[in-house]
């Protein structure tokens, strides 16, 4: 009887822990800024759509016949970033101002290799980085851009 009780309790504990850990599985961004995916134009031709600055999806399909990165190709994400930069005004995790300045005190303009210049903070641990930053980049000592 006692053995059965132990077995039942352990099974319940196991199921509980499994549910908790499975709920903690990470989620990934559908895309990263500066990247593209192929798309079908209305004409049937092949086009490309750029990843949003917010990295939660793709912009509309651009059908100008060019391939990003190939001579003569465009870089829609950078153009998009420049447009946002003008409106964001250099706040935390927004693109830096036109002269590389950040409007909030304590922020610094950091050049993320594939995301461009973004206002961020210095950090040593993830707790130094307020949302929506996903954490601290130890190698650079700055908060990650989402």
């Amino acid at each position: 009887m006692r053995g059965l009780l132990v077995l039942a309790m352990s099974s319940s504990l196991f199921v509980l822990v499994v549910l908790v850990v499975l709920a903690c599985s990470p989620s990934y961004a559908p895309c990263y800024r500066g990247e593209y995916q192929g798309c079908r134009c209305e004409s049937g031709a092949h086009g490309y759509q750029a990843c949003n600055v917010t990295e939660d999806g793709f912009q509309s399909c651009v059908c100008d016949g060019t391939t990003p990165g190939v001579d003569g190709g465009r870089d829609a994400s950078l153009a998009d970033a420049a447009a946002q930069e003008a409106s964001a005004g250099g706040t935390f995790l927004a693109p830096c101002g036109a002269n590389g300045a950040c409007s909030e005190p304590g922020n610094l303009c950091f050049s993320f290799p594939s995301k461009g210049q973004i206002c961020t903070k210095k950090c040593t641990t993830a707790s130094d980085c307020p949302a929506p930053s996903p954490g601290c980049t130890p190698s650079n000592g700055v908060c990650r851009a989402p």
């Binding site: 132990v6 504990l13 990263y32 990003p68």
Partner: protein, 748 residues
């Protein structure tokens, strides 16, 4: 040539048979000594708090170290045994965790499920463990042991009860690779009474594992059956699942004979890409999901073996192995380029297309690598003990006849998830190997063993090309070619001292046959590529200064006339994936210490602390890279563990490992290139921990395991194509139930 070899084997057999009635040697007794090393002596090593678990009888099997308590002392060179208790306490997720406990060994297992195994011993290239001889119960397990000794299949750690590692001249008993070391995994032993185990684990990243095992005996026939299933989402959103089955039956074949039949299957399905992160991607988001989610691999393996042990007399033993296994592997990889073209319509463009080389352009298609391998082998192994005057001999000789085959098909698929596609190339390989060895362990005195030996390897290979690429198209062809490779591998080892303190030294020739693709060109012409050879020296000591402390220190030197390494050139293709590094040398030292703290303080518990450190300097000897370190050969590595077992049922383990900085190319380039393929790989340290509680009345054990406790990000490789990261922090919770019937007491 084959006829002469067969004749030599038969003659040797006859000669030994005539000596089989010689006197028993007096030294080097097989009886376990009273002060045997704890890792090799289950009874003294058993925790004082356990269930007095009954250790199963050893089945008929081939060991590289041996089953006796003083076996390690008789190995001609350095050797390590990871025992059943070590495995039970560590509750490892994969074999690499346990192999890191061996001085001089670096091990990495890919994927959350542990689908591939990269092992390096003393600075050799770890890629797919191809430089190490990998055995299971003495039977080769790589996909084609002679011509493609790659470990695309990693045995499940749950089917093991021990691991033997031999690094010195003892290697010559087990070819064909004798370059650096032999690793022999020992599978579960069939019990002689009913045992049942059920084990489940679940944890972060969707990890789940279930195991069921049943063993018993019936009418003198002992058997064990085990099924294991494991699945997970992977650290980088690369799902995997694998199923492994093992059935083993042991039975007597007469008064002096026993046989073991083993059947096994293994299936892996996992996301598997060959392209890693670029420099910018890793700096921005080191935990980015896989770049190639459509890339996928399926592997099926079936194996069967019969091991028969016959005691011909009190001093003569014959072991015979007959085995066969097949491995089918199909791997689709979405095609990509780092140099975009205006005429190609790409599916996805990842990275930064504004910087040359920093973006990866994925096409709407894939490459399908379809491979089928088969191996059959037969190995008789004699051991005979006799005496000449005051000198005792343990004479071993045997041979191997092995046939291996491979069927390669490359296809081009029209969409990224295709497993069909149109054939672009196809070829078949076959190899027939004949090997023989002889070794005499000579006990010159009670405290002096000298072990000379020699191994002979002969390999005949044939390559048949059925389809090949011709410019931008493919064409059917029929091109045949063949080649032969021979190797004579001498070695000698010596041990002097007592069980508590002895020194050992050895010298042996390292040998590894060339791969199929490098032996015969695509035109069917033999390339005259020679086998990989090295001269290996080692000298070391094993000391047990106190009952609670044991230690080992070994210095080693290997010189290669031509070492084969992974080609890190950006232009490398499948055909040039391995390249000749020319003359190289490797020297260094390895040391391991184990302190049984509870014995020291006379506590009624087990508290074992083990530390191991390896210094290995592997360098090019000539040419423009002379003096540079070989790629993927870290100079320093260190690991430590503390195992605890208390009477209350609580126990646990802390483990830490550090791998020093290493280079990814022959030029030892420090700065990272934009693709992430070239540059120094910084050293990294990882800590793991396990806590468990064993409830004796119910047989239940609860286990909480944390891997990469400090959640550190680190780079483990820049190959095949870019940056690959190590595993992240992961927590697993597990419950295990063990039932063990009491063994029948013998009638009084």
């Amino acid at each position: 040539m084959k006829r002469r070899l067969s004749l030599a084997l038969v003659l040797s057999s006859s000669l030994l048979a005539s000596l089989s009635h010689a006197q028993e040697p007096t030294p080097s007794s097989d009886a376990p000594p009273s002060d045997a090393p704890p890792s090799d002596a289950p009874p003294s090593d058993a925790p004082p708090v356990g269930d007095q678990a009954l250790v199963p009888r050893e089945p008929a099997e081939v060991r590289v170290i041996g089953a006796k308590a003083d076996s390690l002392q008789r190995v001609p060179g350095s050797g390590t045994l990871v025992s059943r208790k070590d495995l039970e306490r560590a509750a490892p997720l994969d074999l690499a965790e346990m192999l890191r406990r061996v001085p001089g060994v670096q091990a990495r297992q890919e994927y959350g499920g542990g689908g591939r195994l990269d092992i390096s011993i003393r600075g050799l290239d770890a890629g797919r463990s191809r430089r190490i001889l990998m055995l299971e119960d003495g039977i080769p397990i790589s996909i084609n042991p002679y011509s493609e000794p790659d470990m695309y299949y990693a045995p499940a750690v749950e089917r093991m009860r021990g691991i033997e590692v031999v690094k010195g001249s003892g290697n010559i008993l087990f070819g064909p690779q004798t370059l650096a070391g032999t690793i022999n995994f020992l599978t579960l032993a069939p019990p002689d009474h009913r045992t049942i185990a059920a084990d489940v684990d679940a944890g972060s990243y969707g990890y789940a594992r279930g195991l069921a095992r049943y063993g018993d005996s019936y009418g003198g026939v002992r058997y064990v059956v085990q099924v294991l299933h494991r699945r997970g989402d992977g650290f980088r959103d690369q799902g995997f699942q694998s199923t492994n089955g093992l059935a083993k039956i042991a039975f007597e074949t007469g008064a002096d004979g026993e046989a073991t039949v083993k059947l096994g299957f293994h299936r892996d399905e996992s996301g598997s890409e060959d392209v890693g992160l670029t420099r910018a991607m890793y700096r921005d988001e080191p935990r980015r999901a896989t770049l190639s989610p459509a890339s996928h691999l399926v592997l099926d393996r079936y194996d069967a073996s019969l091991t028969h042990e016959q005691r011909l007399s009190s001093s003569t033993k014959l072991e015979t192995l007959v085995y066969g296994y097949t491995t089918d592997r199909i791997w689709r990889r979405q095609t990509y380029s780092r140099s975009p073209s205006t005429i190609e319509n790409y599916d996805r463009i990842v990275g930064d297309p504004t910087v040359p080389g920093a973006a990866i352009y994925f096409s709407h298609g894939d490459r399908i690598l379809d491979r089928a391998y088969a191996v059959v082998g037969f190995e008789p192994r004699f051991e005979h003990r006799f005496q000449t005057g005051e000198v005792g001999h343990t004479f071993e000789f045997g041979g191997r006849l092995l046939r291996e085959s491979a069927h390669y098909q490359d296809r081009k698929g029209d969409y990224p998830e295709s497993y069909s596609g149109a054939a672009t190339s196809e070829e078949k390989h076959t190899g027939l190997a004949v090997a023989g060895y002889v070794q005499d362990r000579i006990a010159l005195r009670d405290d002096l063993l000298l072990t000379p030996g020699v191994r002979f390897e002969h390999l005949t290979v044939k390559r048949t090309i059925l389809r090949r690429q011709n410019g931008t198209t493919s064409e059917d062809v029929f091109v045949e070619g063949g080649d032969e490779v021979n190797g004579v591998i001498p070695g000698v080892g010596a041990i002097y001292g007592t069980k508590k303190a002895h020194v050992f030294g050895g010298l042996h020739l390292g040998f590894a046959p060339p791969r199929f693709a490098s032996s015969v060109s695509v035109a069917g012409v033999p390339q005259g590529v020679k086998a990989e050879k090295s001269l290996n020296y080692e000298v070391g000591t094993r000391i047990t200064p106190a009952a609670w402390l044991r230690s080992e220190l070994t210095g080693f030197l290997s010189t290669y006339s031509n070492q084969v390494i992974a080609n890190t050139s950006a232009e490398a293709t499948d055909a040039t994936a391995l390249s000749d590094a020319g003359a190289t040398s490797i020297y260094g030292l390895e040391t391991g210490w184990t302190a049984m703290v509870a014995k020291l303080v006379k506590a009624d518990a087990v508290v074992d602390v083990g530390v191991r450190y390896t210094y290995s300097r592997a360098t090019f000897r000539y040419g423009k890279n002379a003096g540079n370190l070989l790629p993927y050969a870290p100079e320093h590595s260190f690991n430590a563990n503390m195992d605890v077992e208390l009477r209350s049922g609580w126990g646990g383990q802390l483990a830490y490992r550090y791998v020093g900085a290493q280079f990814s190319d022959e030029a030892n380039t420090v700065p990272e290139d934009v693709t992430g393929r070239i540059g120094r790989i910084d050293g990294y340290g990882v800590a793991d921990a396990t806590v468990h509680y064993h409830h004796r009345p119910s047989g239940l054990t609860f286990r909480l395991t944390g891997k990469n406790l400090f959640d550190s990000d680190f780079v483990v490789a820049r190959r095949p194509e870019g940056i690959f990261t190590g595993g992240y922090q992961q927590f697993l919770f597990g419950v295990r139930w063990d039932y063990e019937a009491r063994a029948e007491q013998p009638a009084r």
